[in-house]
Structures are given as structure tokens and as C-alpha cells.
């Protein structure tokens, strides 16, 4: 009975989403206050029913309701309760419900925190979110219903893919979706602005905190995913340029461009058309990401079962959303958006160049990701694009971005002066060269490591110099407003990230070895001694657990326990052991016994020494913190903004 209530709740949510998507937009168009007032209650109603459906699905998992096909397919009696919650979004149907669930979190939040905005504008924004909700709710109800019954009810269920049975998986998808779906808010703001006309750029100020928060969540989601892949997939890699990773990375890149472009438009009134276009792209790429993951058109570690009906539906939805929004853009943008001019040497130009680099990077990733589809369509054969394509082009595009980054804060709006830039460049440049020389002594000819240190110090020193400058020149209390602090923290994150990537990529030692018990192998100054394997057991798996003692100069540093797990349904899964440190990770994964009948004999082992690998994720966390911090800017919360006004450009740089 209860699962049917879940389905019923979804159907009601669909009806309310239709109401939310149609009536308020009509009301805003006709100037009908009664219809406009429908927006908030409809959003709240849709939210309540979607939250109910989600709660019912979680309830079904917690109570082993195997009469529900989705529950039976993805959980079993031996699965611990926390992984049964993870299993809710462990496969297709549930993850679509999660998508809609998070869309509703955003809609309800927007309905609650938009009292200071003009009602007609909010009605349009909520209307657009309602229409997106219609698309996804219909998709769930007609092609991917998680509440379908399976009768007769099986005694026990299947299993959650063991790769997903990891704490990282519990929170990676929801956080990632918070980011993905969060771009729908920026999208809705843009569409509302295009529909409304006349708003000029006031809407950008309202959209900024939402976009920053969405981007920060996306950053956290990608960092969590990268860390999870590193810890769980047993290869010790942190990024694979896998189609699904790319699917989350493209909106992130466009998101970087978007949050910077929004700042320009909000403060200076320049580039409004570009900002609108970027927010359309960011959300379109989020949808495309959903399409790539859900349709199974590309081979990927993430791809779920392919069902052509689902793929077609999402493809159709994608065409309607992208085509419709671009059409609206083409019709309305020339009227809505009139940009203000700026000098060639100005912060506007700096942001524009950075924007071009990031959107080109996104286009490059898009081309590489879709190329197998293009090749297939043109009958060129079965093609895949190797990771070096992405790595090479990404470095080519990001090197200028890193080079230009420290100049950003020093550039004045409108027209900048060269003198301050040269002063900064001298300081940061000298610091970078000194550190690179020091690094060269340690890195012994690893050019990438030296370049990484130089690049990171260049960015870090440039950012630090600006922090000092603000401290000296501004009165207490006005030195670092939240927006500025967020920018500085995020840029520091870039420096940390660059160090992490370049040092870990060039200095890591990775070795696959064959070791008999008692034998040892020396890597990166550490001795790895293999002391054999023992049997061990968990709630729904048993494992061979290796014992590897790490020694440095004869003294024991630690003991590591990599596992080779066999789950109750027979799937095999490697659990690597990681000794984490700020300056180096030691990573041990168990391969296979050299003789399958002699588990106590020699094993294949994967031994890694990875300097500075944590800095990759640390840098990402700094960027995330920057995004959240900037969203706290007090200016964004200003109670009353005259709806008709075009914001006056400020004379002072900020």
C-alpha cells in the first residue's frame, strides 16, 4: 500500500508542477496578481509531494520492501542500513527521483528567500522551475517509476554494486546534484529576465548568490567524486576523463565563467547578453550530463542499463530546453541586453579573456566526450578519445589562465593602469622564480614539478600581495567584504590545486610488483614489506586482507591492510589501503594471488607513493569555500532594489 502512495504523491507533484509552470507565467504576462500569487503555494505543494515520495522510497529500502522491484534490485537483507539509504540513488530510477527532489529543495528555498524581489519576476522564475519539474516528473512516471511492484515478492533482493558501497558514495551524488540542478536557478533567472524584458541587470544581482552556491556544491561534488575514485577504484588515479566525469566537469567550467561574468554584469552592466547565454549553457550542459549518464550511449564506469525509450525522452527534453531557450534568447536578448563599453586594459577584458579560456575548455571537453558518437554517426568506426587528448588541451588552455589570474584583482573596472600590474608581476615573478629554483634542487629534473611550483607560487604570491595591499589601503571593516574574501580564498585554492596536480603527477612512483610473504620492495624512500594475507569478514562480504608493513630507514612507520573483497553475490572488489598525509600518500592495493590455489603464496601488489596528492582536493575545497563565502555578500541581500533601475556603475574599484 505505501509504495502506491509514493506513486500517487509523484502524480500529484506532476499536476502541481504543471500549475506552477503555467499559471504564474501567464499571470506575469497578463499582469494578473491572483495568478502570480499561485507560484509560491504551488512550489510548496510540489515540494511536499516530492519530499513525501522520497521519504516513502527511503522507507521501503529501510524496511526491506522487496515487493518493490527497485528495492529488490538494489538491496538485500545483508546490506547495512546506511548503504540501503545510499542504494536509494544507486541506480537509474532512484537517482532521477533524487534529481527532482533536489530541484524541489532549490525551488522551495527560492520561494522562501525571494520576498524582497518583485512578485512578477519571482512568478516567472518559479514558473520556469515548475516546467523543468514537469519534464522530469513525467520522465519518472512514464519511463522510470521507482515504485513498480514485483510480484510475487522475492525472499531476498539483489545487491547494490559493491563499487558504490563506500561512505563517499553516500554523499557524492546528492552533493553533485545540488550543483548540477542548482544551475537551473540561474537558468530560470535568465529565462525570467528574457521573458520580462525591461529588468535590465538588476536580476543578475539576485541570481549571483544562487549561482555561487550551486557552483560551490558542484565543486564539492566533483572533489568528493574524485577522492572516491582514488580511494575506491583501486588504480590510485584521481581523474580519468571518463564521459561521466566530463559530464559534471563541463557545467563546472562554464560555471566558473558564469560566476565571473555575473560579477561584471552586476557591477558594471557590461556583457549582459553573454551572462545570459552562459547561464543557458551551464544548465544545458547539466541536462546533457544527465542524458549521457542515464542513456548509456557512452561506455563509462557510471553508465546504467541502457533503455532507448529513456534516452529518446531525455534527448527530446534536451532539444526542447536548449532549443527553446536559445530561440527565446535570439528573440529577446537584443532588447533586454545592452552592454556598456570598456577599455582594452580593464577588469572587464580580464574577465572576458578568462571566460573565453574556460568556455573553450568546456567546448574541448564536449568535443572529446561526444566524439565517439560523432564517429559512430559518420560511420568512422568505433572510436574512443584517449585521456591524453583532454590532458594536453586542458593544460594548454589553463596555462594562460594561471598566468593571468593574479592580475585580475589589480585590474580596475572600466580602465586599468599598467603601473600597479607591473609592480605585482615583479614581486610574484621573483617569488615564483626563487621557489622554482629551490624546487629544481629537490625535484631533480622533473620539469613539470618545477613548472607547477612556479605557477602555484605565481598565483599564490600575486593573491597574497593583493591581500596585503587591501590591508594597508582600506579602513578596518571594509578590507575584505565577503565577495572579495571568497574570490581570494578561491584563487588561493587554484594555487594549492596547481601544486597538487603538478607535483603528484610528476613525482608519484607507481609500481605493480609480485611479492611473496616476507619479501619487500622499496619505493620513494619507503620499504613495503608484504607479510602475507589473512581472511576477514564484513556484513555482506568476506575478504583476503593483505598485511603490508611500511618501514623507513628500518623503523616501522605503519601497517596497511588492503583487501580483496568478495561480496555475497560473488562480485569482487578491491579495497585499497591508504596512509594519508599532507605531503604524501602511501597507497597499497591487493592484486590477485599468483597461484589461485595458494592464497598464502605470492601476490600481485600495487604500491604507490604519491607526494602532495591531497593538495588536489584541498585546492578544490578552497575553491568551494570561496564560492560559499562570496554568496554571503551583504550586498546580495539588500532588502529593496528598485526594479526599474539600471544599476549605476560604481566609480571605485571593488
Amino acid at each position: 500500500m505505501i509504495p502506491e502512495l509514493g506513486q500517487f504523491a509523484l502524480a500529484l507533484a506532476l499536476l502541481l508542477a504543471l500549475v506552477q509552470g503555467v499559471l504564474p507565467i501567464l499571470g506575469a504576462w497578463r499582469g494578473n496578481a491572483a495568478l502570480i500569487a499561485v507560484a509560491r503555494p504551488a512550489a510548496a505543494g510540489q515540494g511536499i509531494f516530492v519530499f513525501t515520495a522520497m521519504a516513502i522510497l527511503i522507507h521501503a529500502f529501510l524496511h526491506y520492501d522487496f515487493s518493490v522491484a527497485y528495492v529488490a534490485d538494489n538491496s538485500n537483507l545483508a546490506l547495512p542500513w546506511y548503504y540501503r539509504i545510499t542504494a536509494v540513488w544507486g541506480a537509474h530510477e532512484g537517482s532521477m527521483l533524487l534529481w527532482v527532489f533536489i530541484l524541489n529543495i532549490w525551488s522551495v528555498a527560492l520561494a522562501a528567500f525571494s520576498r524582497h524581489l518583485p512578485p512578477a519576476f519571482v512568478a516567472r522564475v518559479l514558473g520556469v522551475l515548475g516546467l523543468i519539474g514537469v519534464g522530469f516528473l513525467a520522465f519518472i512516471l512514464f519511463t522510470s517509476n521507482p515504485f513498480l511492484r514485483e510480484l510475487p515478492m522475492p525472499a531476498d533482493g539483489g545487491d547494490l554494486n559493491p563499487v558504490l558501497q563506500d561512505p563517499g558514495m553516500t554523499f557524492h551524488p546528492p552533493v553533485l546534484y545540488m550543483g548540477y540542478v542548482g544551475f537551473s536557478v540561474a537558468f530560470a533567472f535568465s529565462i525570467a529576465a528574457l521573458l520580462g524584458g525591461g529588468m535590465e541587470q538588476a536580476w543578475v544581482r539576485w541570481a549571483r548568490p544562487w549561482t555561487n552556491v550551486a557552483w560551490a556544491f558542484l565543486t564539492l561534488g566533483i572533489v568528493a567524486g574524485s577522492w572516491w575514485a582514488y580511494a575506491e577504484l583501486g588504480w590510485g588515479g584521481w581523474w580519468f576523463w571518463d564521459p561521466v566525469e566530463n559530464a559534471s566537469f563541463m557545467p563546472w567550467l562554464v560555471g566558473v565563467a558564469l560566476i565571473h561574468a555575473q560579477a561584471v554584469t552586476e557591477k558594471r552592466g557590461s556583457l549582459p547578453a553573454w551572462t545570459v547565454l552562459l547561464s543557458l549553457f551551464a544548465f544545458s550542459l547539466s541536462l546533457l550530463g544527465t542524458f549521457l549518464v542515464r542513456s548509456g550511449v557512452l561506455t563509462s564506469v557510471h553508465a546504467f542499463a541502457s533503455d532507448p525509450r529513456r534516452g529518446l525522452y531525455i534527448l527530446g527534453f534536451l532539444i526542447v530546453v536548449i532549443g527553446g531557450s536559445l530561440l527565446l534568447y535570439a528573440i529577446r536578448a537584443p532588447k533586454v541586453a545592452t552592454g556598456k563599453p570598456f577599455a582594452p586594459l580593464s577588469r572587464e577584458t580580464g574577465v572576458m579573456v578568462a571566460n573565453l579560456l574556460f568556455t573553450t575548455a568546456a567546448a574541448m571537453v564536449l568535443l572529446g566526450t561526444l566524439f565517439p558518437l560523432i564517429g559512430d554517426a559518420l560511420n568512422l568506426g568505433r572510436i574512443s578519445v584517449g585521456p591524453p587528448y583532454f590532458g594536453f588541451l586542458f593544460v594548454m588552455l589553463m596555462a594562460p589562465a594561471v598566468l593571468l589570474l593574479p592580475f585580475g584583482p589589480y585590474l580596475r573596472w572600466g580602465r586599468a593602469e599598467g603601473r600597479q600590474l607591473t609592480a605585482m608581476a615583479w614581486r610574484a615573478g621573483v617569488a615564483a622564480v626563487i621557489c622554482a629554483v629551490v624546487a629544481a634542487v629537490f625535484a631533480q629534473g622533473h620539469l613539470r614539478a618545477i613548472a607547477g611550483v612556479a605557477g602555484a607560487v605565481w598565483v599564490g604570491a600575486g593573491t597574497l600581495a593583493y591581500i596585503v595591499k587591501r590591508w594597508r589601503e582600506m579602513p578596518r571593516g571594509r578590507r575584505y567584504p565577503a565577495e572579495m574574501a571568497g574570490m581570494l580564498v578561491a584563487h588561493t585554492g587554484v594555487a594549492i590545486f596547481v601544486i597538487g596536480v603538478m607535483l603528484s603527477e610528476s613525482l608519484s612512483v607507481e609500481r605493480d610488483v609480485r611479492l611473496a610473504p616476507g619479501q619487500s620492495q622499496s619505493i620513494g624512500g619507503y620499504d613495503f614489506r608484504f607479510d602475507g594475507v589473512e581472511e576477514t569478514e564484513g556484513p555482506n562480504w568476506r575478504a583476503d586482507e593483505g598485511i603490508v608493513t611500511i618501514l623507513r630507514d628500518g623503523a616501522t612507520v605503519g601497517t596497511m591492510h588492503p583487501q580483496k573483497r568478495t561480496y555475497s553475490r560473488g562480485q569482487v572488489q578491491t579495497e585499497s589501503a591508504i596512509d594519508a598525509g599532507l605531503f604524501r600518500d602511501i597507497y597499497v592495493a591487493l592484486g590477485e594471488p599468483m597461484d589461485a590455489n595458494d592464497v598464502q603464496g605470492a601476490w600481485a601488489l600495487r604500491l604507490y607513493h604519491k607526494p602532495f596528492v591531497r593538495w588536489i582536493w584541498l585546492g578544490g575545497l578552497f575553491m568551494m569555500a570561496g564560492g560559499f563565502l562570496a554568496a554571503c555578500e551583504r550586498r546580495f541581500r539588500a532588502k529593496k532594489i528598485a526594479a526599474e533601475s539600471t544599476l549605476e556603475p560604481k566609480a571605485t574599484p571593488a
Binding site: 554494486n161 568505433r382 585521456p387 609480485r514
Partner: protein, 153 residues
């Protein structure tokens, strides 16, 4: 030319130059990193001869996995309906690698054997990667592959 026009011209020229560099680099990188997928029978027909590195897809022949006595070197045979190809690999095989498992190996040919630098067997035992299924279906038009096998349980 007045200053405004001069500036616009400079902007246009630099944008075109940047675009040209970007397109050039992209084409270069794509050409270097495009990998084609072939099945053993297609390789034996000589279809892969023009490619230095390519991907080989098929099933691991039952009982063909052999390990060297003292190193991590392993050899096995990848088969499809009409062909078989001996593969050599040094390193740790993926968790799901076993007899009759569908695998995709990246590497090059060396005197009749395929020297793999990477072996993937990402999916569970009932699942065959779509592109591999298509390639095998294409190699053997007469063979029917049961579509239900594509669904992970």
C-alpha cells in the same frame, strides 16, 4: 583608419589567430589520441594494420589465462566468433577479469601478438559494453546477441 576601427581590427585578428591555434591544437590532439576498436577477426582480416595503437575487444577464452612464474606477466587469448588473438600484459588485471569475460585491451601488435598497456573489464558478468557488442555484431552480422544480456540483472 580611425583608432576605433584599428582597435576592432586588432581584436578581430587576435580572436581569429586564437581560434586558429585552438582548432589546430584540437585536431592535432584528436588525431594522436583517437583509438579504434577492433575484434580479433577484424584484426586478422588486416583492418587494424594501419593503426599503431588500437583497442582490442572480445571475450577471454576459457582456460587461456597463463601467468609467468616469477613476474607479473600474463598472457591470455581474446576471441570472437571468427577469430582469436593472443594478448600479453604485464601488471595487475582488473577485479572482473576472468574466463569468458568481455574485455577491452589497449595496445599494439608485435609479431602476431597483441601487447596490451591497459586491460579493462569494467562491467559485471552479464554486461557487455555497448560499443563492444556493436562491434562484434558488426563483425558477425549473422550472429544474434540477446539484448537482455545488456541489462545488469
Amino acid at each position: 583608419m580611425n583608432p576605433t576601427r584599428k582597435r576592432r581590427l586588432a581584436i578581430v585578428i587576435s580572436v581569429i589567430a586564437a581560434a586558429a591555434v585552438a582548432v589546430g591544437l584540437t585536431v592535432f590532439a584528436l588525431q594522436r589520441n583517437m583509438n579504434y576498436l577492433f575484434t580479433p577477426s577484424q584484426v586478422q582480416e588486416g583492418q587494424a594494420a594501419q593503426y599503431a595503437t588500437f583497442r582490442l575487444g572480445g571475450m577471454v577464452k576459457s582456460g587461456s589465462i597463463q601467468r609467468a612464474g616469477d613476474t607479473l606477466k600474463v598472457s591470455f587469448i581474446v576471441v570472437d566468433d571468427g577469430g582469436a588473438m593472443p594478448v600479453e600484459y604485464t601488471g595487475i588485471l582488473p577485479d572482473l577479469f576472468r574466463d569468458n569475460q568481455s574485455v577491452i585491451a589497449t595496445g599494439r601488435m608485435d609479431s602476431g601478438r597483441f601487447i596490451a598497456s591497459e586491460v579493462l573489464a569494467k562491467h559485471d558478468e552479464n554486461y557487455m559494453p555497448k560499443e563492444l557488442k556493436d562491434a562484434m555484431a558488426k563483425a558477425h552480422e549473422n550472429r544474434k546477441i540477446d539484448d537482455k544480456k545488456d541489462m545488469p540483472r
